[in-house]
Amino acid sequence: MLNQPVLLAGGINVFKYAAPQTFYPLAGKMIPWFSWTAALLCVAGLYIGFFVAPTDHQQGESYRIIFIHVPAAWMSMLIYVVMAFWAGAGLIFNTRLSHMMVSALVPTGAMFTFVALWTGALWGKPTWGTWWAWDARMTSELILLFLYFGFMALQAGIDDARRADRAGAVLALVGVINIPIIYFSVKWWNTLHQGASVSFTSAPTMAATMFAGMMLMALAAWMYTIAAALHRVRSIIIEREQGTEWLRNHTGSQS
């Protein structure tokens, strides 16, 4: 750590927290804040979503799935972008913690992608009469799920931690560059073959309350993701830094 440049971001040495040893307790302190914020935002969002937002005149009550579907879809994409960011940081600065952060984010990203697909299907059935339609957004979401699974499979298949980190990082970067290409090509494919651009899970014209509920849930999902990723990265730190001095006397609370 002696050669780390001091990044004067408000006087804080950012690279200090690139060391697992310093980040570990910081993450531990942050987790409860993010967890509780997520829970409160979720309660508020669901309250508005179910008790304040009115019935949609086109879709009836089925539109209320939107309060999960849209936040989940947003998070699934945001998480991949954040992953790619940390992957790039890890490759450039050669910081282990950056790579650990990537691995910590992946399962949550995959989970939200699956939720987006599941809720999309359950929304589509009553609205369009079919569980699945090969529209641009759902198809892109499906491919995103494959990208997540591919990443997990690659890391699972490599025993050496350093190689797993860096190979995963390359894959994440290649993936993030391809996601817009995939999305636009699927969109084009869809409009060409269907003629009219029908969006399978098109949101109803939003009343302000619907929008508010959705935004609250989106924020809740974001806070939850951070809390989950911080928790997971702490476990990863323990797993990987086994032999180090600072973990020697660490017993840790079971939380």
């Binding site: 690659l154 298949g157 390359v170 290649v174 290409i181 995939i182």
Partner: protein
Amino acid sequence: MMTLLRAVIRRDLLLAWRRRADIATVVLFFVIVVSLFPLGVGPEPNLLRTIAPGIIWVAALLACMLSLQNMFTSDHSDGALDQMLLAAAPLSMIVVARAFAHWLMSGLPLVILSPLLAIQFDLAPELSPVLTLSLLLGTPILTLIGAIGAALTLGLRGGGMLLALLVLPLYVPVLILGAGAVDAASAGLGADAHLLLLGAQLLVTATFAPWAVAAALRISAE
């Protein structure tokens, strides 16, 4: 540097010629997979004519992927890979040469064979050149993107399946543009847009993929 690249290409072609059977395997796989679909969906000519571009494209895609596994493995095992990593020429240039040679052996045969298979599906004669051109532009892209996957999974247990899982989602745009070109032509919309985009993607991939392959090779060989 050009002499080195020519040497790499010549060596690869020579080795591939000695293993001609491998080329035949890829081509045979291509033909067999294409023939499976009529067996699966029935011989009704109108249906086959409609799905022909998609089928031929998917089969080409799978055949490309089959052949990707051994792009680097033989070099990995006999130490030639380490030589490449230490060579004076930039690794990405060597990768381009390697990918080109590989495409000549695994992609180009498919392109050459495609008109014959188009006949099997009674594809309209004016559409056959579009199909061939789309494959001509698309198969190098498949080779380059696949090379990234091959480099990342070098020497891993999961091998071929893992490679497929990584690379197939990335193949989707190429498939859409390639098969879509023929579909657009058959709908009377003209394949220009698709083919131009395919060409653009080839240029972009040829520029950036070798760099990613080189990085992946370094990571895998450490």
